[in-house]
């Protein structure tokens, strides 16, 4: 990739709107040209990179770009898995790195307002240190920014009980075209005065406005969180167990699975004894006060019945943390098998879970690829992965075809092409497989209404046109 050069005129104009050191030369900062899909070959060359120091500066930059017909590519921590923050066709990258203020925090009322660039892990920590819970726990929480998590409506294991990021959002401040700050909602738990544009912005991936600040409703933290790990001989038994746990009406906090091939990739690192013939794993977390969590754990074990080969209950904080660290390492370990992977985050109704788990393997086989899946079983949200050697272009191409087939299967099973990563750039053109023409027309109408010049993150979030991209062999999802 040849280094882009920053036009001195553009640099000066942007610096006048922000600060001299707020404008970066893309030639010296290639890291703003990609996100976590870089290994999938997705990189761009922005015309400029700007790090506004305030929401007002974001609006001023948007106004400038809108006036001059420059595309704007909003960027958070750069941990996206669909290329949403990649300046594929150039434009001005507007990054939230310097939007770091905690504008208000009232733990006694469970409310916090943070600017878009606050790392998600900081929000989690602030909540935790005050006896509260910010439940969304997507991967890469230390790197990702809350604004990016809101813009993608990020998920994570605990979404099963607590919902995805949008569930916690009560208000959004955003720079809207043609360049003004707008506030939708705020700290109120209930507000139906206007349209719910806050939640229209949630998950819109920077295509309708640039999130500058978010108001979140935290929850009281549960006193105890107890994980359980159940091993099964095969996927069929494991998926039946998922149905049994959900069908038993037990509100568990997280209900995760690893299929056999995934388990094989991380077996060596498992913090405990693994049954020899384990071909499927469920990691279930229950929470509540100590007694309730214990009672729930016992009821989950009862609901699992005799089917599991073994059930482990990690004891004490260190064992529990070790389990979740191990779970966090799954994506990297799977990628490490051949050096890379093409992984997608489709979701299906949970009674179709076995079909997508087995379908992933069958698709891989048809394309001559090793495949596996893991993910958020309780939400039917699977990470189907096709292993690749990133230097093998033919293999990458087959993996891309496999992913395309996977999208088709997910939709055929009543599911979605994206449960939590978003559409970004990589899945543009796929929405039409899932949405009817009238729904697509509504999406396009909303886009045109709020971004009449089409300058906000062009080509992202389901735009059905544009060239196809190459697969990412190495992204990190949870």
């Amino acid at each position: 990739m040849s280094a882009a050069t920053l036009s001195p005129g553009l640099a000066a104009d942007l610096a006048a709107l922000t600060a001299a050191d707020a404008v970066l030369d893309p030639g010296h900062h290639p890291e703003y040209g990609h996100d976590a899909t870089a290994y999938r070959g997705l990189r761009g060359e922005p015309d400029a990179i700007v790090l506004p120091g305030s929401a007002a500066e974001v609006a001023a930059v948007l106004a400038y770009c809108y006036e001059h017909g420059l595309a704007v590519v909003p960027r958070g921590g750069g941990t996206g898995l669909a290329g949403g923050a990649v300046p594929v066709e150039g434009g001005v990258v507007v990054a939230s790195d310097r939007l770091r203020a905690v504008r208000s925090f009232a733990p006694e009322r469970w409310t916090i307002e943070v600017e878009a660039g606050v790392p998600t892990a900081d929000v989690q920590r602030l909540a935790r240190e005050n006896g509260l819970l910010f439940a969304p726990d997507p991967g890469a929480a230390e790197q990702s920014h809350i604004g990016g998590n809101v813009a993608t409506n990020a998920g994570g294991p605990h979404a099963f009980k607590y919902g995805v990021t949008g569930r916690a959002v009560t208000g959004v401040e955003a720079a809207m075209a043609p360049g003004e700050l707008a506030r939708f909602g705020g700290a109120l738990a209930k507000d139906v005065a206007g349209y719910d544009i806050a939640h229209l912005l949630v998950g819109s991936e920077g295509t309708l406005g640039i999130v500058t600040s978010v108001s979140l409703r935290l929850l009281p933290a549960p006193a105890a969180s107890l994980p359980l790990v159940a091993f099964f001989a095969e996927a069929a038994a494991g998926c039946e167990a998922v149905a049994a746990v959900v069908g038993s009406g037990l509100q568990v906090a997280a209900l995760e699975y690893l299929d056999g091939a995934t388990l094989a990739a991380v077996a060596g690192a498992y913090p405990g004894a693994l049954p020899d013939d384990a071909g499927f794993l469920l990691a279930i977390e229950v929470d509540g006060d100590e007694e309730e969590a214990r009672r729930l754990a016992a009821e989950v074990v009862a609901a699992l019945g005799d089917e599991p080969l073994a059930v482990h209950a990690p004891q004490g904080r260190s064992e529990r943390e070790a389990l979740w660290r191990w779970r966090d390492g799954v994506s990297g370990a799977v990628a490490g098998q051949l050096g890379g992977k093409v992984s997608e985050d489709v979701a299906v109704p949970i009674d179709r879970l076995l079909e997508i788990v087995e379908g992933t393997l069958a698709i891989g086989e048809r394309h001559g690829l090793r495949a596996c899946s893991w993910g958020h079983a309780g939400d039917g949200n699977v990470h189907s992965s096709f292993l690749v050697d990133p230097r093998d272009e033919a293999q990458l191409e087959r993996a891309e075809e496999a992913a395309d087939e996977l999208f088709g299967l997910a939709v055929a099973l009543g599911g979605t092409i994206s449960g939590e990563h978003g559409t970004g750039w990589l899945k543009r053109g796929q929405l039409g497989r899932q949405w009817d023409p009238a729904a697509l027309a509504a999406q396009r109408a909303v886009k045109r209404a709020l971004d009449p010049k089409g300058l906000l993150n062009p080509g992202k979030k389901g735009d059905p046109t544009g060239p196809s991209a190459t697969p990412n062999p190495n992204e990190q999802e949870r």
Copy 2:
């Protein structure tokens, strides 16, 4: 009101799209000309009333109206409190009475899809009979339709823990302009493939599309629900107790209050002994399994400290049901004092609760009106009421002025003009007090995008133009 006459041509056209008996003559069905704001003087004369028998028929009717430039006024159970379903300026009322199908119900996966005309109480019952919970509990659940509750994003006492109606919505099918059915989302817990247009429709009060069917995520029902009633000498102590309960980090299910004047209106019917000097009441419900609910109840009592004059814990199902029946009767009993009331549903941050409670009384006094308030303390969502004799036009006018002042106070306290009833017709023009110009512009742009001819429920949901309406002395909120 003179009876409108149904044009034979329009009747024949609509009957051809639906069924002969699906088209009603407004002259014979005045009940479709108003909602629960009728006593506030708000009535309209539709050009026709049509009761489509299927979602496809709704779309066909919308297509016809869109082609012929006829306004469409979607209608659910007619229990709205803001005039959202009133055909104030005529048009074709499209009512959901015949959209009664439960399209799918999978209790073992906590999912249900119901057509718009299914009564909300039926959804609650279906859930309950299968060990599940549909938590939204707005007033008039037997009469209101789930489609209307979704279109207004209705609330209720248990929204404090479980959220408002939109929280339970995972998908919406709607007839969209110019007359096509579209489906946004479905039974999936997680889906970020496209914009969240489902939740844009939630609370849009029929101004962006006509909800024909909704997919809901139910929750496991708690085994036990225990109410507690705490009495205080005055509002200040009661509001401090609200802060203490929330600040203690106890996740109670409902946290309701009645101020002294409200309490006086319903004291005689209280199912228990009322302390003589009670000037403020909190009704708190905790839930969970039996042990957890009991533990929570004890912790709530501890958090209340020595401040309450008394704390009652109704025992057994019949006492508990009697308490909630009594709570349900509040609105009617308050209205019964003088024959009517003008009541609004503003919400404020909970640390401003005392100010809106006392401010309601002060506003009433300034306008020579008896006033009181009650509502959802945990959400800061109050029903501020000004008592009126509905035959006294001068008093009604003063009450309308008082309500206007109330909106200003709510916004000044960082709150909203509507916590759960919506903007409808009665609060049109108020959104500009609360939203900045850029936010208002976004709302208008979305409206134009999805309803370019402005035929979907014209003048509703914050449209800043249009004549003012007279107050409603007798509506029923919870």
